[in-house]
Symmetry: C2
Subunit: 186 residues, 2 copies
């Protein structure tokens, strides 16, 4: 893969930075959930961290021939609070990506006819919609002082599609086979 | 932990961004090394990725009460090449941190009397010196078309201290006990 236009390349670098930081803070917030006695919410954070890894990996690889040092400007959520607060951070970050960041990046990739970037942004956007919903479900439980009631969580390593309990025959976003999904068992 | 000064807080956020992106690209470059038939270099990349996770975790936690959204500007190396090229990217990134970034951040934390940030920057700086050396050793072998000859790699989860084969009684940087080290066996 590769990219020809500077604006799309900038957006890929920014998205790579944002996904890398999201991956990291979800691992940190997962530990907090474990310590608060919510291991299923901890596991949800780790599964979604893995999906963000897949997104970062896609963005990085579309940039594979852009070798060298760059200063990357990327959005990130900060703060270590309670699990209810951390889940709000997760929801806020995902909603920004769903409503603002990825729609603009995707529109730009289409406008500049950047096929690799278009696919990478599309994959991420579709996964983030699910992530926002899962974090909201988790927060509804955590507000009641309860852990989430959720079975095995599956993540597509190609596009980051995230699904609980019922594994599809193939990934509805990228078409990857069922057996490729990475599982996060209870 | 917490931080009172805006400049130190900015540097912590930038370092968090840089460490998160380094973590991610080392995982990606580790896969490349595996595919090139250099599993020990692949393992070195993964061990060092874990050390960068420890650094990102420290920076994020010093910022624990700085809740909310920020735009983070952070340096990162891009490109997916051969393992020799990827190791050069690793060396370049580590040397920038050793010679420029962390000395300035550390000096600022001391100047602003920010104890938590001072510790987090000190831990990272000490580990990066070892990382640059290990990547250089790996590249010397990879240039000859050979894998690295290296036993178990151990990483301190507190400060990211990275050592091959001979585990110290306690971490020479942060004092953590031997049994806390995470191992990456051959
Ligand atoms: Fe993502
Ligand atoms: Fe997400
Ligand atoms: Fe998929
Ligand atoms: Fe580091
Ligand atoms: Fe390093
Ligand atoms: Fe240590």
């Amino acid at each position: 893969m590769s990219v020809n236009n500077a604006m799309t390349a900038d957006f890929l670098r920014s998205a790579y930075g944002g996904e890398s930081m999201a991956h990291m803070r979800y691992l940190i917030w997962g530990d907090v959930a474990d310590k608060e006695g919510m291991p299923n919410i901890g596991r949800l954070f780790r599964a979604i961290a893995y999906a963000e890894y897949a997104h970062a990996d896609n963005h990085f690889k579309v940039l594979d021939d852009q070798k060298g040092d760059y200063t990357v400007a990327a959005g990130a959520v900060f703060g270590v609070g309670t699990t209810v607060e951390n889940l709000q951070g997760g929801i806020d970050g995902e909603l920004h990506e769903i409503e603002q960041m990825y729609p603009v990046y995707l529109e730009t990739a289409r406008f500049q006819n950047e096929k690799g970037a278009e696919r990478a942004f599309h994959y991420a956007l579709e996964a983030e919609k699910i992530h926002a919903k899962l974090f909201q479900d988790a927060q509804d439980m955590a507000r009641q002082g309860k852990d989430m009631d959720i079975g095995t969580i599956y993540v597509c390593p190609i596009c980051g599609h995230t699904v609980a309990e019922h594994l599809p025959e193939k990934c509805p976003v990228c078409g990857a086979k069922q057996e490729m999904y990475k599982d996060f068992p209870a």
